[in-house]
Each structure stands twice: as C-alpha cells, then as structure tokens.
Amino acid sequence: MSLKYIPTLLGAVAVAGSMLLGSAASAEDKVGFVYVGPVGDHGWTYRHDLGRQAVQNAFGDKVKTTFVESVKEGPDSERVIRQMAADGHKLIFTTSFGFMNPTLKVAKQFPGVKFEHATGYKRTDNVGTYSARFYEGRYVVGKIAGKMTKSNVIGYVGSFPIPEVVRGINAMTLAAKSVNPDVTVKVAWVSTWYDPGKEGDAAKALIDQGADIIFQHTDSPAPLQVAEGRGVWAVGQASDMTKFAPKAQLTAIIDDWDGYYVARTKAVLDGSWKSDDTWGGLKSGMVALADYNSAIPADVVKLAEETRKGIEDGTINPFAGPFNKQDGSVGAAAGSALDDGTLLGMNWYVEGVEGQLPQ
C-alpha cells in the first residue's frame, strides 16, 4: 500500500468513528419547536415556550428540546424545519399558521419524523394539527366588554384576516351584543403578528375613533400599554399582560399548551402517535382566563364566570343562533349552532362589526 492512501484511510476512520460516537450520544430523543416570534414577546411564542419547558421537565433526560425563534413565515421557515428534521428530531412543533405549506413539504421528505402544526388545517400521515378555541375565551370577555363599555364602541387590533382571527372578532361581538345591543365593533388590520409600533398606532387610532375597550389578535403588549396610557380598558392576548397595563387589563386570554405538548411527546416516545386534529378550549384547559381586574363589578364577574362554566360544560355555544351576518343574511337560525367546518372557514363578519373584511 503506498503512502498516498493514508489521508483517505484517516478520513474513513474519522467518519466511522464519529458515526459510532454519534449514535452512542443519541440516547435521548429530540423534540423541536419552530417559533414565529421571539420567546420574549410575552404573548403567543412565550406560551409555546412554556409548553416546551413543560415537556423538558416532564421527560428529563429522555428528551432534548430545542427551539428556533423569530422564524419568518416563508422560505426561511422551510429551511429551518428541514434542518431540524435532518438533524434527527423525532417530533417538531411548528407554531404558526404560515408554517403550513413548509411543514407539509418537509414532512413529505422525512416520513419518519412527526410534525405538529399549530392553527393549520392540512394533515397527512405524519403531520397533525392542533389549535385552541381562543374564541371561547373571547366570548366570555365579550360579555364583560359589553357590560363595561361606556362609549358602546369596542376596538379590535387584527393581524391577518384569517378564519381564526375572524372567529375571535365574531365571538366577541356576539357576546357583547347579547348583553348590550347598542355595541359596535371597529377593526384595524395591521398585517403583522408582531410589530409593537404598528400595534400601538392601531390601538391609538381605534381609541381616537371612540373605542374604550381594546381587544387584539397580535402578539405584543403594545396595545395594552396604549390603553393604560389613555385610561381605557384592554384585554391581554395569549398571556397575562398585567405587567404592562396594571389598570387597563380587564383580563387576558391565556393559551396553555403544556398538557397537549407533554401528551404528544409521550405518544411519540411510546410509538402511539397518530396524525390527528385537536381543537381544545376552555374545557380541556388549552384556553384559560387571567384574573379579573378588581375594578370589574361583582355582577359582571358573576356573568363572566357563568358564561365560562356554561361553555365548559357545553350548555353555552358561542356560535349558537339566532344571529345575522353583517350583510343581513342569516348567520345561524334559532336553535342551531355553527359547526366546526363552518368555523374553520369563517370569512364573514357578524352584525355589529363595522367595516369591510379584507378578503
């Protein structure tokens, strides 16, 4: 054997050695999380990361959780998801609606990896979806808003006109109108999930247009800060934002993913994972409400609690008729309620919401 083969031999030994070492080190399973915003947004992504920490705590050494934050929806997300899949992750949670197609694309190429896509609606053998019925929480707070508003105008900072956001607007409006028929809802769309400057500006515009309660479906606490500064009410989104608005926050709609994430990780570890669609709400604990502001009168709190319990035990359905769509046609007739399919594709406003829904 001549000397010139030595580098090749060394290379082969190195590769073999690292493969042996590598396989010895992967005694733990990897679970990955792809976030659309920063963990410190104190809202949507923050709650998902709490779920990730719950998984890490529940399984200790058996599982290694990793995450990538602030991944923009689009080609960048595909690269990140593919990298995770190629890196040996067994289970990957993609936590934003806009990750849908990238997730499906990568899932096709990595059939052995399980994917869980949040707030999506397309599933395959190895892609499951999950979401929370945030609108149930908004319905409860809508009742509070209907009672607490003095100007009868409620403002809503919307991100993108997707069904999930429209459901929230409609549920809140139906609840508010059920206790206060004179209420109107104004919506400002900021075309982003997270831009504190824009969200704050939208809140200011809504307040200047007469709103005295601000709801939001965006991820930063900026609208609450604005509400606090202007002396109006607001509702926290995805997590308790009292720190930013001690006086203004009526309550907050809290996402709680801990239980679901631990359960799904367990399913992957013991091999029982199947692609599924989970849509939990107040009952299953995926949606919760923060403490009520002490300034809310006792009878309003009682109404809110009754509504919440009613949704939990099934006696109250936020989308039960009768109610009309914004254009006057029947939304749901008396005695009936909208089914999940209609909810998932909701692209119309109910009566009481001002303005045109961008299509």
Binding site: G40, D41, G155, K186, V187, G200, A205
Partner: protein
Amino acid sequence: MSGFEWIVPVILTVITAATPLVFAGIGELVTEKSGVLNLGVEGMMLMGAVAGFVTATVTGNYFLAVLVAAFAGAVMAFLFGILTLSLMANQVATGLALTLFGVGLSALMGQSFVGEPVDPLSKLNIAGLSDIPFVGPILFGQDGLVYLSFVLVAGVSWFLYKTKAGLILRAVGDSHDAAHSIGYSVIGIRYLAVMFGGAMSGIGGAYLSLAYTPMWAENMTAGRGWIALALIVFATWKPGLVMVGAYMFGGITILQLHAQAAGLSVPSQVLSMLPYLATIIVLVMISKDQSRIRKHAPACIGKIFHPAA
C-alpha cells in the same frame, strides 16, 4: 367624537410617528452631504434603541439613556467609517452589512430585556399653556425629544448653509478633490459627519424604545431606517423638506389606521400600502427632473476618496 375633536389626537400621534424618521433622516442627511452614503441607518437605529432601553431600565435616567443611545449609534458609524474611509471599502456594501450587523447585535444584546416594560419618556406639562384647547397639547405637551428634533432641523439647516464649517462639509461632499487640494482633511470631516449621522440615528431608535412603544422588541424599527434613507432623496437633501417628508409619511401611516377604524370600505391591505406608495410616487416625480437632483445631490456621494498624491 364629532366635529374636529379627533384632529388633535391624530396630530399628536402623527408627531410621535414622524419623530424617529426626523432624527434618522437629518443625521443621515449630514452624512450624505459630506459625500458618504451610509445605508446602515436601520442597524444604527436598532443599536440606539436597545442601548437606550437597557440604560433606561438599569439606571432609570432617561437623559443618560439618550446619551448612551447616541453613543451606540456613533460607535456603529465609526466602525462603518473605518471600513469605508480608512480601508476604502465599497460604501453601499458596507452599509448593508452594517444594517445586518446592527439588527443581529441589537437582538442579541436585548435578549434578556424583551418583554420588560419601562415608563415612557415624560411629556412636558406646563400648567397653563398645555391646557389651551387644540394648540396646547400639540405645542406644549410633547416629550423632550420631539422638541429636540425641531431644534435639530433648524440647527442643521443653519449649520450647513450659514456657517463656514457647513460650507466646508458641503464642499467635501461636492468635490472632495478640490477640498483636499485647498487643504481640508476630507477623511477627518467625513468621519465626523458619519459619526454625527450615527448618533442621530441612535437617538431616533431610542425614541422608539423609550417614547413610542416603551419596550424592547427585536427589529422594532420595522423598516423605518430605509424610509428615512428614501426621505432624504425625496427631500433633495434639504433639511426642512426631510422634516416635511417624515411628517407626511408618519401622517399617512396614522391616517390609514384611522380610516380602517372609521370603517372606510377600502381593503386594509391597500391602506397599509399607502405610505410606501406615496413615498415611491413622490420619488418618481422628483427623479423625472434629473437636473433638480443633480443640483442638490452631493456630487461625490458614495465615491471613495483617494487623496491625490
């Protein structure tokens, strides 16, 4: 809200929206007048935002926070200066790199401060004057940095056109070879101009994190640095027009949100586009008159200076 009551809150909101653009725009204007094109405005603004925010959170001293923000912006600009003025790298490429660097570094520095609120910069509140209906809050109820922005525009305008030092700066920007042959230190003057631009961008960024939305969030400038760069061209390098442009852009941004809130049935996506569309339209209109641009643009902008023997 009936009648004209809504005008005052809208004007107040427009002022806060325009002020960061004014700071960044005026700073970069001085830089460009000296012949340097620094595209790193976005990165410098973010560094100023995070530096100012961290200082305010840790010390509670807002004056110090603004100073530190200006310093942070100036340091970033100094780095840019070393690369482009001393090492003679391409200004456009270096500026873009500076933006990316600033975005990343600010995100890294601000990691442990995300989601922490801070008290907003306090607004002036002169007992009798601030309460005058309509005019009171607008003229006498702003925070310190807004007043500083007005002083800045007036000061820079006076400096550039009424002082010898300003004349020298403009000479360096219009013909660096001639200025060099007279004996002025082209590189030295450009360093100062670049660092001033960085400091102002830093203050503009600090305004975002201390007054506009008193928190730190990654990438919170959301493209305002690029808008400031466009505004300078839109204003044909005149300080007063930079301010006009900033207020126009800020005004349209706020008004489109109001239009949505008022229920105007124009699709929100179209309304969101309006500020950028308006900027593009005005730029196109101005560029049609090539002679106007040539008259006002610093002739040596972006050109690397090679001292002739």
